[in-house]
Symmetry: C3
Subunit: 132 residues, 3 copies
Amino acid sequence: MLYRDVIYLHTKTDSFQDVTERVAKIIEESKIRDGLCNVFVKGTTAGVMLNENDRMLIEDFRKLLATMAPDEHLYQHPENAKSHLRAAMIGNNITIPVADGKPMVGSWQNIILFEFDVVNREREVVVTIYGQ
Amino acid sequence: MLYRDVIYLHTKTDSFQDVTERVAKIIEESKIRDGLCNVFVKGTTAGVMLNENDRMLIEDFRKLLATMAPDEHLYQHPENAKSHLRAAMIGNNITIPVADGKPMVGSWQNIILFEFDVVNREREVVVTIYGQ
Amino acid sequence: MLYRDVIYLHTKTDSFQDVTERVAKIIEESKIRDGLCNVFVKGTTAGVMLNENDRMLIEDFRKLLATMAPDEHLYQHPENAKSHLRAAMIGNNITIPVADGKPMVGSWQNIILFEFDVVNREREVVVTIYGQ
């Protein structure tokens, strides 16, 4: 059985959003009890990560990514190269197990979308559930 | 067809374990011949990677991650920020093809779990196989 | 329904190839309209990434990875440690949604294979489609 839905988000430049509950709700609506859930963000300047939603930790993540791909740096790609690089380091697709109609994840394992682009964006997060 | 099992591991802080054979055994037990196998580690301070299980290479990986998220550094998240950051750089979920009842991977492509936390942990690695 | 095919590539050391169209063609051949598509590269010194295929951006990616795992550096793993490290940072497996028989990705979201090895290689990219 296959079920798919899309989460539409307005994102602000250089921000994050926790989509754990919205993904859990889609899994519930799917009526799929056991299987896998794929979370995929369209676009090349946003990322999706499974980790703790702690504001201070998110700040540590932002600093790490800003060290890797700094704001002030001579890139070849114009405008938002840093956004692409940071997004690729985080990745934009995750697949998690589903058990008893719920994401089978650790207690602190939240699904966090990072907007790395230099302008505000409209984002589509595609959630696909496969199972029985 | 769906099959799921969990690998329970005792991990020591800052260590790694090769789970390739245990995953292959679960695939065998599933009787699924062709499909996909998802390997997912619960928790936000451990990672799972597909790469060569060579002790010297693993040391190179640890050094790279320690350069990215150093032991001695002022983080905002208390205690184990470095563990979260290193885990996120490696990722905690992989999906690999299954053919003829075996992981369809390269000869040196082992499934390696990294424990990045600052204390020993009990870990659950969820293995989900989907196919026919 | 399950469908699998393999893309065979000759790769040059330290190069990249865009496989978006070949993956789209396999999805079309599968006759699967809705589901998920897993793209997996065999081997431990190549990576696969979803991002914009812009020559200047790719150059930025190469520079970032060369900063993380430099050419000239004392590694413990002999010969091609840098290739393993760079490959692991990019990852070697992605899973993308399929809708209406096409990859459901952003306009600039190309599937790009990176060859990080120090010699030319023959690569196998396994494409598995699951759906209905």
